[in-house]
Subunit: 235 residues, 2 copies
DNA sequence: CAGTTGGGATGACAGTTGTTCACTGACACC
DNA sequence: GGTGTCAGTGAACAACTGTCATCCCAACTG
């Protein structure tokens, strides 16, 4: 009798607002209700973590605090993650996963310079708008207290910079550029795109006025960098 | 008999490597051994905090952990700070205090563009070299979990950007520039100087090779921005 | 020289924390 | 249909946390 009620209580707390989100991961194939349930609680831990991390940093997030939020016994946490920094790394992957989608949109289209800049700023704004908790987490932990998480973020950003560098190298404006210079330009761009995203972060909640102001500044900054790029080989 | 030993033990732990550091604050005037002692323990708390914060973030630093390090009773902490974020704000002021000195050195001298850039990068490198714990703290907490500290850092950086903007406005290259454009350039510079400092942070310990490499990249990035600046009004 | 002040020590308070353990019962597989 | 696997449980652990009222005694004031 007790087992039933407790199971139901767990079902309720673990499932709400999750069933749809993971269904596409499971696919149409029967993956076994067992593993599906495990994935669902794992996702519930990640979601609750992201929620709690909106107003604190990972190093101050308690294991019990998290499991309490999900409605799982403290010990259950260890079935999914070795420790808190393990969960943090998983959150990093999740965050950059959703980012990568949006980036591909930009990489694909070839347009003239100003359109690229406008599109870039718009994609950054949209990413922050639609994934604010994710990016807030990234910004907090990029130089935060948990080493493995810091390294995971650094790796993702390095990867991002490398992709951008190869994109830049393929452009006609890069003729005569050394690989090192292209890389330093890519780093400059990546750093500033992160700064732009952070600027959106602090102001965005339903305030289209200042969001547009930030976007305006961001566009001009990117344009200035592009201007410097186009005169790099002038002597 | 017990009181003596405990007092001595406290004296020892609170004073080491501190007596010289605060002497210039106390001045030559007799300030009262009473208040001098208070200042000394306050400073000891700040120093120990900075030491402990080298490998963790402020939100995870415990009050007892800190007082234990200093050799002071836990309750004694409240004589000097209301709470941890109060100490954090004090550390922010301390950090930017030492930075401000070095910045004035750059602001004063007028030289040609490349020399300014080289000097800037050198000053950043020196600041990180000589005040690594301070800057590590700033980098960690700039977007960290403690709101008052975050705001204190943001205020200091805004002040810094405003000073830089007024410097830029006074330069002949800024003729025809709108105040908004000058401000956006100043923000761009400040953000990147912070990024440069962070880059120095991760690599500096007795590795002149990679320090010089970072400096090289930083110089080229700043030069590219300056190039963009000088063509901003080209049409 | 007394009296007051206040920096600091003390010890206990009531919670909280991360981690481990044996255990259970629903699922998956043969 | 029986059996092993394993996600999740709940209790117990020791260590830790911030906060408080209280006392001590050196340092200041008059």
């Amino acid at each position: 009798m007790f087992t039933d009620t407790s199971t139901l209580a767990w079902r309720k707390s673990a499932n709400d607002c999750l069933l749809d989100d993971v269904s596409h991961i499971l696919g149409d194939r029967p993956l076994g209700a067992r593993q599906a349930q495990k994935l669902r609680t794992r996702q519930a831990l990640l979601d609750a973590g992201l929620r709690l991390l909106e107003h604190q940093s990972l190093s101050s997030l308690g294991l019990r605090e998290l499991t309490r939020e999900v409605g799982v016994a403290p010990a259950g946490f260890y079935r999914h993650f070795r420790d808190m920094s393990d969960l943090g790394v998983a959150l990093v992957e999740e965050s950059f996963g959703s980012l990568r989608e949006m980036v591909r949109a930009i990489r694909g289209e070839q347009a003239k310079a100003d359109e690229v800049i406008d599109g870039t700023v718009e994609v950054i704004a949209r990413y922050v708008r639609e994934h604010r908790p994710h990016f807030r987490f990234i910004a907090r932990e990029r130089y935060g207290g948990v080493q493995p998480v810091r390294e995971a973020i650094a790796d993702e950003l390095r990867l991002f910079a490398e992709e951008l560098a190869s994109d830049l190298a393929a452009q006609p404006e890069s003729e005569g550029w050394s690989p090192q210079d292209i890389r330093m330009l890519a780093d400059l761009y990546v750093d500033h795109m992160v700064m732009i995203a952070i600027a959106f972060l602090d102001v965005s909640p339903e305030d289209p006025g200042s969001e547009e102001e930030i976007a305006n500044i961001a566009r001009r900054q990117l344009r200035l960098i592009r201007l410097g790029r186009s005169h790099w080989l002038d002597d």
